[in-house]
């Protein structure tokens, strides 16, 4: 295996009585996309902030692109691109002006600024919007600009914090294509998300986070097979019936989870005839491991 773009060991971050990150270990091998999957409050955003030294860990070791944090964070930040969860574009500036500011912040030499802006505009498919003020852009375009702004200096590592949160499905798929393209060009990516599908589609490796810790790490398919098996069945019915099903499954030593209107039973082996068969998925793994619902 090659070197690591991100290496976190035993990171702890407390905010008063709350421990947001509680002994996190995380690796992002160079050239891969790692998904950080967890519900709101699992510590994903705090982890992202620690990687740019906007939050300083109370304990543990953090390394980004071989630079030790927080001591060498500025050097690391020069080679990283960050797509924040909250849109912090300058809304009164045009698309191009927003990119221009970041060519300065990222120290792009004067002779390369034009090219860098053109490349970013092209990649985000915003060339015909270059003179549009940001407050006149649609939500999807703003998010594309936010990503373009993070890539203006061709970073080796891209941190994406919930890149598609709050966007409609069509726009989300558009962004997935953009992120997938980024990965295929060889950038290392750490992407936090609470959308299962996003992690399944884009990530080479997924780390499931709960209460500030990594509870499982692996390729999405491997995680599913290891923790939820190959197939699940779902039994629908009124709550008393679901309780019976759960008890019966527990009697057979099977793992179950509630999914609102149904009970899902992992690897039921044909024991529940009145059920719907389906492949297991990352969501099953997530709920089985954390006991938490997602989305």
């Amino acid at each position: 295996m090659g070197s690591l773009a991100i290496r976190i060991r035993g990171a702890v971050k407390r905010y008063g009585p709350i421990t947001a990150v509680d002994g996190l270990d995380l690796d992002v091998p160079e050239g891969t996309c790692v998904g950080l999957l967890g519900p709101n409050g699992a510590g994903k955003s705090t982890t992202m902030r620690m990687l740019t030294a906007q939050a300083i860990a109370d304990e543990g070791e953090l390394e980004v692109l071989g630079y030790e944090l927080p001591r060498e964070s500025k050097q690391a930040r020069a080679e990283c691109g960050v797509v924040p969860q909250l849109d912090n574009l300058d809304t009164t500036l045009t698309v191009e002006q927003n990119l221009l500011v970041f060519t300065y912040l990222y120290r792009i030499p004067r002779s390369q600024r034009r090219d860098a802006i053109e490349r970013a505009l092209k990649m985000a498919n915003l060339r015909d919007r270059r003179d549009t003020r940001v407050d006149k852009l649609s939500g999807g375009m703003r998010r594309r600009l936010l990503i373009a702004r993070a890539l203006v200096h061709l970073p080796r590592l891209v941190l994406l914090d919930e890149p598609t949160v709050g966007l409609d499905p069509q726009v989300r798929q558009e962004l997935w294509a953009l992120i997938d393209n980024l990965r295929s060009e060889g950038a290392s990516i750490l992407m936090s998300t609470h959308y299962i599908e996003e992690a399944e589609r884009l990530a080479d490796t997924v780390t499931i986070m709960s209460h500030g810790r990594a509870v499982a790490t692996g390729a999405p398919r491997d995680l599913v097979r290891e923790h939820a098996g190959r197939e699940a069945v779902e039994v629908y019915g009124p709550p008393p019936r679901l309780a019976e099903v759960e008890a019966e499954a527990a009697g057979h030593g099977l793992r179950t989870r509630r999914t609102g209107t149904s009970v899902a039973i992992m690897e039921a082996d044909g024991r529940f005839p009145d059920s719907i068969r389906r492949p297991t998925n990352l969501e099953d793994v997530f709920v089985l491991l954390t006991g938490e619902e997602i989305e």
Partner: protein, 267 residues
């Protein structure tokens, strides 16, 4: 992307980087190009109103103060006031808005820019603006008969030094306070008294002695004196003293602003 050469610098970055300051300044300048009209309007009209109201309203009762025509006394005094208003208030409000509502500073600090550079660049930019806007009341006073002098050319520089201190004061205040509503406490308990007891509108030598001593701790008083002496003639070491106070004020507030903003921006 590693297939392509990265445009990011491979050199070692230093603690305090010119290009980082330039990046923050470019953002401010580009932003300013979208709202300079309203800022310039208010920065020009406000001191002019003070000048007209006091200069002519009060000037009809008092013709001379401290050896100057009253219009000229107020015309030079309000330079420091204009510097104060065009630095401390933009610094307080825009800093708060940028970190609390627009999350601009989150974006900048995710790039290779540290809080120290961010605060310095913001204060520099506000200081430049207030140096320029500070000269406006003087020009208005010239239109009303203030004689031109070479020393007037130094007034924007004095405005810059004082404006840097006040900008740092505003940024530090925004970093320290948790709510924009608390700004009015600072305005009414700190800025208003400093503004009134600075020798802008009336000389301090008729005030009780305690007030006169206290005025020496008011940076605005030193700015007012220095501007007046620049216009009418310097007073040697006295003015070196005034300048010294302004420089120390600016340096101390600059470091404090960085401290408070670091506490605010870095968890």
């Amino acid at each position: 992307m590693s297939a392509q050469p990265t445009a990011a610098p491979q050199r070692r970055l230093h603690r305090f980087e010119g290009p980082a300051l330039a990046g923050v300044l470019v953002r401010e300048v580009v932003n300013f190009s979208s709202f300079w009209r309203s800022t310039t309007f208010s920065s020009t009209v406000q001191p002019t109103i003070y000048l007209l109201a006091f200069g002519f309203g009060f000037g009809s009762l008092v013709s001379h103060v401290a050896g100057y025509r009253y219009v000229e006394y107020v015309g030079t005094g309000t330079v420091a006031t204009a510097v104060l208003f065009s630095s401390v208030f933009p610094a307080m409000f825009s800093t708060f808005v940028k970190y609390q509502f627009q999350h601009t500073y989150d974006a900048i600090l995710a790039a290779p820019v540290d809080t120290e550079e961010l605060v310095t660049a913001e204060a520099l930019w506000i200081a430049v603006r207030s140096g320029v806007y500070g000269a406006v009341p003087m020009l208005v006073a010239v239109a009303f008969g203030l004689p031109l002098s070479w020393g007037m050319l130094l007034v924007p520089l004095i405005g810059f030094v004082a404006g840097f201190g006040w900008a740092a004061f505003g940024i530090g205040t925004a970093g320290l306070l948790k709510s924009i509503d608390s700004f009015s406490y600072v305005t009414s308990t700190v800025i208003t008294p400093l503004f009134l007891v600075a020798g802008t509108f009336f000389p301090l030598n008729h005030l009780p002695e305690g007030w006169q001593i206290a005025a020496n701790f008011n940076p605005l008083f030193h700015a007012v004196e220095l501007v007046r002496h620049a216009v009418f003639g310097f007073h040697g070491w006295v003015d070196v003293g005034h300048l010294g106070v302004l420089v120390v004020f600016a340096l101390v507030l600059w470091r404090l602003a960085i401290r408070f903003m670091e506490r605010r921006l870095i968890d």
